[in-house]
Symmetry: C2
Subunit: 340 residues, 2 copies
Amino acid sequence: LARIALDAMGGDHAPKATVVGALLALDDIDPAHSIQLVGRTAVIREQLDGLLADEFAHATGARDRLEIVEAPDVIEMHEKPVAAIRAKPNSSMALGLKLQAAGHSEAFVSAGSTGAQMAASAVFLKLHEGLLRPAIPTVLPTARQSVVLIDSGANVDCSPQELVQFAWLGTIYAEDILGRTTPGVALLNIGEEPEKGSKEVKEAHRLLQEQTALAFRGNCEGRDILSGQIAQGQVDVVVCDGFVGNVLLKFYESVAPLAFEVLKRAGVDRRLLERGFKAFDYSETGGAPLLGVRGVSIIAHGSSSERAIKNAIKVALRAVESHMNEHIGRRLPTVNVETS
Amino acid sequence: LARIALDAMGGDHAPKATVVGALLALDDIDPAHSIQLVGRTAVIREQLDGLLADEFAHATGARDRLEIVEAPDVIEMHEKPVAAIRAKPNSSMALGLKLQAAGHSEAFVSAGSTGAQMAASAVFLKLHEGLLRPAIPTVLPTARQSVVLIDSGANVDCSPQELVQFAWLGTIYAEDILGRTTPGVALLNIGEEPEKGSKEVKEAHRLLQEQTALAFRGNCEGRDILSGQIAQGQVDVVVCDGFVGNVLLKFYESVAPLAFEVLKRAGVDRRLLERGFKAFDYSETGGAPLLGVRGVSIIAHGSSSERAIKNAIKVALRAVESHMNEHIGRRLPTVNVETS
């Protein structure tokens, strides 16, 4: 029933990874769903024909669930987001989102420029009423269950009010996408005490305590993120501004390769390491929805593999089926955040 | 020649860990140096007599290089720093620093309350001329050589001018304590481009480019910290505000135990893991000087072990012998940072 638009031109490995990813997804999801491949028709058709004649010869019926939507332009990674969206109204990014805005699809997935996707999503899908800025959640693997870090890079210089809205966006995401009930929320800070931290974080703490409908558990520190647990209870959602979130995530991504190398040097068997570190590999989790826009816009990593694209499409489907977007639209206006 | 004052009452394992740490240090450093144990005389003497009669019976001559300085009060970890310093002028923290201010010792080491030590160091040693705020560097182990992260938690809400001063403090620290020549400096940010980041970081980037005497290599991202290398060259010093630094460090500390557990579950031999992860254990690096005060004040971890205390004393000695403090005093006033 859902139609997912995929930016066939987006990402380091497009269009091969995107077209293969779409075929893998079709094989994996309910046959009622279909995918729109948005991009240069000739390029997409060539990929598709080659794959369906060979590697995906078994995928009978896949062609009927695929639609090619012509988009002559492509936004390159180095282009300035807002300017690129304006200059290329017929890019795969813009057209893919316009499809959704016009009611021709229910979700959009891209591994192209994150900045351009954020800008285009805000322009074409618009923000939910009352929302100050959209945010990107990242699901971090931990020793127990995963934790949502929000914002993971969309916004720097966040106001306390924005941090409170991130807490709500993260909560709804944890419910709808991860299936958590009453997700625990913590504010990332340099100490447990409410009076710790920067001006913005101190004020956000105060405002979060007033959000009685939210399971706010107080501050958590850097060391608590991966434990998913503080004295006040389980933490499913960790709230921070996008500067801290971005630095943390990129740092985390660099730790496993370092540990891998050090342990290999210490004589640990390579295959055991590969097996162990698999838990830390979130390169194939697919993508994260840009939360707060009126619709579903899934941001996939620029280096997305075929499997990552497939998983991003599945995240999009989960967002559609759980009505995440409607939940955000319904609950955000009830968040009464005083603006100072 | 150097006299190092040690807060004998500071830290979770004091006075045992502090007194043993002092004895271990005396055994390890040039016999010309001596240590002042600052705290409750009776408590210290009891520890010392027991140790010298038994475990340290071999340490002949140690007693002559130890002086006990009576300080009847102790600042507890939960006390508010500034208030505690005022209320307890005869605490081991205050008296230990006053010794140095009066020229009776060359350095001070404490594993007590970091907040109180920062406040007391500023009050009794004073800041170098022109310095806005002192900062704490942390030496991070990496796959290659270590990297200095500054500020690692002393300051939140930093101005661009303060970030520039941190770059200088980190540079002198890397030269004098780590022995690096012309240390490379990078500004921690969410992207390589100068126009990325928060207001403060963007302005700091501009100001750092004007510091021609500094080996400023531009922005680095979270993933570059542990590689110690960016396109512009080697990075010895990573500059960030204390909020980001504190979150990062505590996060880093939590990664190794998690990886350890996951890998053990994957079947990796426990002893191999212990050997491998040793490189990541900086619990015994000792301590970090509070940079920017006129003197040497070494902040050791509250949970410092005997070995950590010994190492903190050695860090103090290295700071004294390298004339780090004089170098800071000489170079800081030449840092021409426009104040907006």
